[in-house]
């Protein structure tokens, strides 16, 4: 008999208990009593911040995005903080889309962040959104080689040759910093091959550090490591958002996970010491 069976707890009840415990910080936030736990800012987040901060006014930043709209909802406050830092520095931003609903993400982000009102920006002059281009790696390479050939218009339907921001931007040779984010682990490899490695421009990343670790310091020079990275960045820039609250959930969830692992192993070794068959479930 396993430990849980002795305690008369079924696996289903255990799953429900852990789920409820994980939701506690979210519930506390909803009733206006968020738990604010300590947060240290790591070097890769500082690198990310510094790469934007060190650009001279008027520099061009190109952002290759491969994130879907539902994925964006979990990242929007981190993205908003990035836009704020970019436009605080008076930089220009080119937003490209390599996932089919990424253009929806960009328009929602511009609306959500309110940068047009906050900084008095104009689409086409200070930033431009390009429509989805299919083909992943070949699309990345085509855009990098020539924006004017790869796209006929921007998302609004304005011909590329008539967009003021694109007058002096032909290819990535005219861009000073690259940003990437992805919805799949393979996109980063393609991005590194076709953008920073091919054109010798520094890039920063907003996905998961593990995916860019092999390129860090050579092609990628700053990263926001998922929720933790975005929370650190929001704290560093002072543009607070949901990720700071999400860190509380993660902290508590981590503690419940440790408890679950401890009970799981206790149960396993107890059953083994009794020399009884240990029920092992296989991943489905």
């Amino acid at each position: 008999m396993s430990l849980l069976e002795k305690l008369h707890i079924t696996h289903r009840q255990m799953a429900i208990i852990l789920t409820v415990l994980t939701v506690i910080p979210i519930a506390l936030t909803l009733i206006g009593r968020p738990i604010i736990l300590p947060l240290t800012i790591g070097p890769i987040t500082k690198d990310f911040y510094n790469r934007i901060q060190e650009l001279p006014e008027g520099s061009i930043v190109a952002w290759a995005n491969h994130v879907s709209f539902p994925g964006y909802l979990g990242k929007r406050d981190g993205y908003r903080a990035i836009l704020f830092q970019i436009f605080d520095r008076k930089l220009k931003l080119i937003m490209t889309s390599f996932w089919h609903d990424t253009p929806q993400l960009w328009t929602a982000l511009i609306e959500y962040s309110g940068v047009e009102k906050k900084y008095g920006l104009k689409e086409g002059v200070d930033f431009v959104i390009f429509p989805f281009l299919a083909g992943e790696e070949s699309a990345l390479a085509a855009v990098a080689a020539d924006f004017h050939k790869a796209y006929s218009t921007d998302l609004r339907g304005v011909p590329v040759k008539d967009i003021p921001l694109m007058q002096n931007v032909r290819s990535l040779k005219d861009v000073q910093l690259l940003i990437s984010d992805a919805g799949s682990f393979t996109f980063i490899d393609m991005f590194v091959r076709q953008w920073p490695a091919a054109y010798g421009i520094k890039s920063i990343n907003t996905y998961v550090f593990a995916t860019v670790a092999p390129y860090y310091g050579r092609f990628v020079h700053g990263a926001l490591d998922d929720v933790r990275g975005r929370a650190e960045y929001e704290s560093l820039t002072g543009y607070s958002g949901e990720d700071l609250l999400r860190m509380d959930s993660r902290n508590l969830q981590g503690l419940w996970v440790f408890v679950a692992v401890f009970i799981g192993n206790l149960s396993y070794f107890y059953a083994r010491s009794q020399k009884k068959a240990v029920p092992m479930e296989r991943p489905r």
Binding site: H11, M14, A15, L18, T19, L21, T22, L37, P38, L39, T40, G42, I44, S68, F69, P70, G71, Y72, L73, G74, Q104, T107, A108, L133, A134, G135, A139, A141, A142, A145, D146, K149, A150, G157, D189, F209, A210, A213, P214, Y216, V227, R228, A231, M247, R250, N251, Q253, G254, L255, W256, V257, A260, V261, I263, G264, N265, Y268, M280, E281, P283
Partner: protein, 216 residues
């Protein structure tokens, strides 16, 4: 003209020529006329991909339509029906709402329906703490090593733990930057060598490949 010629030899020849140009331009020669050819080819690639996507969507719709027309009424029939219904509804919204697919009405509906349905899908991950209870048992050396790697990465992800003992941040980062990066590079190198071997086998006729197997 035999089927073999247009189903295998012509496509393989075209892919070989195009790949050679692109690979040479990337790794070996920076010769402006070759770069111009490569840029043009990439543009054709992007256009071709758009048609491939259109083909994919068409096949998806046809497959679900076939499912809906099945006589036997099962769960998959209803799921396909919902899929086709959602597709039709969004198509109508895009065509009929003010401003079309770029209008604020369509964008708002898309954001609230697709965005939150997707977020609901992600919320299924909430059961993960329970999975660790089931699977992170120290039953072997391999599972113990995996557990320890996971443990130090999770320590780094939890700001409250790092606040108590700051070196845990650097240990987690080291695991990602050194052993993880090394493993990824090894995997990439293995894939590269494997691809080369496949290529050589194909050239000497020892690797039939998918196209050959599909030649009828």
């Amino acid at each position: 003209m035999s089927r073999r010629l247009y189903q295998r030899q012509v496509p393989v020849f075209l892919v070989s020529v195009l790949t050679t140009i692109i690979v040479m331009e990337y790794f070996v020669v920076r010769y402006p006329p070759l770069t111009a050819v490569k840029d043009e080819l990439l543009l054709w690639g992007a256009i071709t991909y758009s048609f491939v996507m259109l083909f994919g969507y068409t096949m998806l719709v046809l497959s679900h339509a076939r499912q809906v027309m099945e006589r036997k009424r099962g769960r998959s029939v209803y799921l396909s029906g919902i899929k086709l219904g959602a597709l039709g509804a969004f198509l109508l919204l895009g065509l009929l709402s003010p401003g079309g697919a770029d209008g604020s009405q369509y964008r708002t509906l898309y954001a609230y329906i697709v965005g939150y349905a997707g977020a609901g899908m992600y919320s299924a991950w909430v059961h993960h703490p329970y999975n660790v209870y089931r699977f992170f048992r120290l039953t072997s050396i391999q599972s113990t090593i995996m557990f320890l790697t996971w443990l130090f990465l999770v320590f780094r992800e939890l700001s409250v733990i790092v606040a108590v003992y700051p070196p845990l941040y650097d240990i987690g980062t080291w695991i990602e930057a050194v052993p993880n990066a090394a493993a990824q590079r090894a995997a990439l190198a293995a894939a590269g060598v494997g691809t080369l071997i496949l290529g050589v086998r194909a050239i000497v006729g020892k690797e039939p490949g998918l196209i050959e197997m599909e030649v009828t």
